[in-house]
């Protein structure tokens, strides 16, 4: 009953104080964010202009030209390719690893709880600092990982500074930082599953692989979906790790959307192109985040319903 009573909408205009109260309470937060909405619309405008900081006199509306140019711009297609590759590689590998670790730690033992807390430490490390740590470890001069590589016969393995292994290196850092995120969400999911189906299956002697595919995975789907979408949205926007590691290099190997936009803005001072790039990224994340929020809401409802 209390739920229903909360959903009432005051139909009549009386009781000024009560009607205005929620607006008064949320107004400061809203105003703060509206200040942030204005730049968003400015960015839309920029993306429709020919605008270079170095040539302010030549600034003019060119409408869709920035976007049209992308069609024939190999740099843009490279950005799209690199961003998608990065997102798919990181999220795919993190999902597999995260699920595996969550399954390993599923039982609520003291040891497992301790390990799961320890594994949170990479997630609590600032991604930019994580990159720095890996930079120190992959330094060709003294990096411990470069030394390990040489031990298995990979002499002069240059990690992020080699075009062929740069992606691998940043993906590795991303995996190091964000796998615990997926692991901890899935672990919470696994531990919240009702026990009866598993007990019944164990009693009937159902093979464990079958249990995993037919019971565990389907029941875990909302958690998997939430974790995946969450990570895809973040990963396709990744900036910190890549910028701190190589600033998008070597060459254009790692110029993902936000890095490319940053370089366009601050190095080539091409504001129009930079804004147009970000608008496209925004469109992608907007679609993804809408799907995500729907899922997330369903999960939230379910989890709160049980609590």
């Amino acid at each position: 009953m209390s739920d229903a009573t909360m959903n009432q909408k005051p139909r009549r205009g009386f009781r000024v104080s009560r009607g205005a109260l929620p607006y008064l309470l949320s107004l400061p937060a809203l105003l703060t964010c509206i200040g942030i909405l204005i730049p968003f619309f400015t960015a839309v405008a920029y993306s429709l202009q020919r605008y270079r900081l170095s040539q302010p006199w030549a600034r003019k509306w060119n409408w869709g030209e920035n976007y049209l140019n992308f069609l024939s711009d190999p740099a843009f297609w490279n950005t799209l390719k690199v961003s998608l590759t990065y997102a798919f590689l990181t999220v795919g590998l993190e999902l597999l690893l995260g699920l595996g670790i969550a399954l390993l730690l599923q039982k609520r033992t003291r040891f497992n709880n301790f390990v799961s807390i320890m594994l949170l430490m990479p997630l609590m490390t600032a991604p930019a600092l994580a990159s720095l740590m890996w930079k120190l470890m992959t330094n060709p001069g003294f990096g411990i990982l470069s030394y390990f590589a040489s031990l298995i016969g990979l002499e002069d393995f240059r990690w992020a500074s080699d075009p062929s292994t740069a992606m691998l290196t940043v993906v590795l850092v991303d995996i190091w930082v964000y796998t615990p995120f997926i692991m901890i969400l899935l672990l919470a999911g696994l531990r919240s599953l009702p026990q009866q189906p598993f007990e019944a299956a164990a009693l009937d002697g159902v093979p464990r692989l079958f249990v995993f595919w037919r019971i565990t995975l389907p029941m875990l789907t909302p958690f998997l979906l939430t974790a995946t979408l969450f990570r895809v949205i973040e990963s396709i926007q990744q900036f910190d790790i890549i910028y701190a590691m190589t600033q998008g290099g070597p060459g254009d190997k790692l110029t993902v959307f936000q890095v490319e936009a940053y370089l366009n803005f601050f190095q080539s001072t091409n504001v129009g192109r930079s804004a147009a790039l970000l608008m496209i990224l925004w469109a992608i994340t907007y679609i993804l985040s809408n799907i995500f929020i729907k899922n997330w809401l369903r999960l939230r409802e379910r989890q709160r319903g049980e609590a």
Binding site: S2, M6, G19, P22, S26, P28, L30, T32, C33, I36, I38, P39, A43, Y46, I101, V115, M118, L119, M121, P122, M124, A126, P127, A128, L129, L132, M133, L136, M137, N139, F142, I144, W176, P180, I184, L185, A188, G189, S192, F223, T226, F230, Q237, F239, D240, A244, F257, A261, F265, A275, L278, M279, L281, W282, Y286, L288, S289, R300, R304, A307
Partner: protein, 285 residues
């Protein structure tokens, strides 16, 4: 689970060991490095046997680096202070703005409240540069460029949605009747908020604050775009630090250790709430 074979136990043990090794080794190694001089760091092959030294830390704390080329001034402590100040102030502002709004969204459902709440949430997912780049130009115009106030304002982008959605969940968990009972007993709306809602949601508010602090501390891109050297937090500062000429690698490592310790400590303290915070209040740990 009775029929776990010895083979399976061995496989599990190996897997867990590998997992721990992969995720813990970098922290362990950087930690070791922070107690070494360039001399021992540059040894080939690397070894974990060395004479530990605190010189890296003392250099960072005093801000004076003695190198072959002379004495180098480093502002790492300033960066650390900036991180602390920016994160604390952002969280304080975020709580002052976010907690009442969260209460409004949870309790006093009003026209458009869901839409507004979701708009705020969607900020969490928009590319930060989309807002930051135009903002650099605006901030120049209104004089907020390279000020703490400007940075704290922009930090609300990460802090506010987090606080709003976690705290809202905690407010929703308080039975409405408990608040009704207090009002019927003769207390105003404001008194009910202070004496009932706030204390009962207290642990959630504290957890949201701690998490928001961690996220603000770990942020990189906002300060990279908007702050000059003397306003930069450790995430940005450390990057500049590594490219500085004549730097000792041990000092970079010590800087990293000092920068990640606060978030580790807080995370450990608030670990009970981490799952909930990381999922923006969707999943309870």
């Amino acid at each position: 689970m009775e029929h776990t074979s010895t083979l399976e136990k061995i496989l599990r043990g190996t897997a867990i060991t590998l997992v721990i090794l992969f995720f813990m080794f970098p922290i362990f190694w950087i930690f070791l490095m922070s107690f070494q001089t360039n001399e021992t760091i540059l040894r080939v092959p690397p070894s974990i046997v060395f004479e530990p030294t605190l010189s890296n830390y003392t250099a960072l704390i005093t801000g004076k680096l003695d190198t072959a080329a002379g004495t180098l001034e480093i502002s790492f402590m300033k960066n650390l202070w900036n991180s602390l100040f920016l994160s604390t102030a952002s969280v304080a502002v975020g709580l002052v703005l976010g907690v009442p709004a969260a209460y409004a969204f949870a309790r006093l459902k009003f026209r458009g409240s869901e839409d507004i709440a979701f708009t705020l949430l969607s900020f969490r997912f928009a590319p930060p540069l989309l807002v930051l780049l135009p903002l650099t130009i605006y901030f120049q115009q209104i004089g907020l460029a390279d000020t703490y106030i400007g940075l704290i304002w922009v930090y609300q982008l990460i802090v506010l949605p987090l606080i709003l959605w976690i705290v809202r969940g905690y407010f929703e968990d308080i039975p409405a009747d408990v608040e009704y009972a207090y009002r019927i007993a003769g207390h105003s709306w404001g008194a009910t908020f202070r004496k009932i809602a706030l204390p009962l949601a207290g642990p959630g508010i504290a957890a949201a604050g701690l998490l928001a602090f961690i996220f603000a501390w770990n942020n990189f891109i906002f300060a990279l775009v908007l702050a000059s050297a003397d306003k930069q937090p450790v995430t940005v500062g450390a990057l500049a630090f590594v490219t500085a000429s004549g730097i000792q690698y041990g000092q970079v490592a010590a800087g990293i250790v000092l920068s990640i310790l606060p978030t580790f400590a807080l995370a450990l303290y608030a670990q009970r709430y981490l799952v909930e915070g990381l999922s923006l209040g969707a999943v309870k740990g």
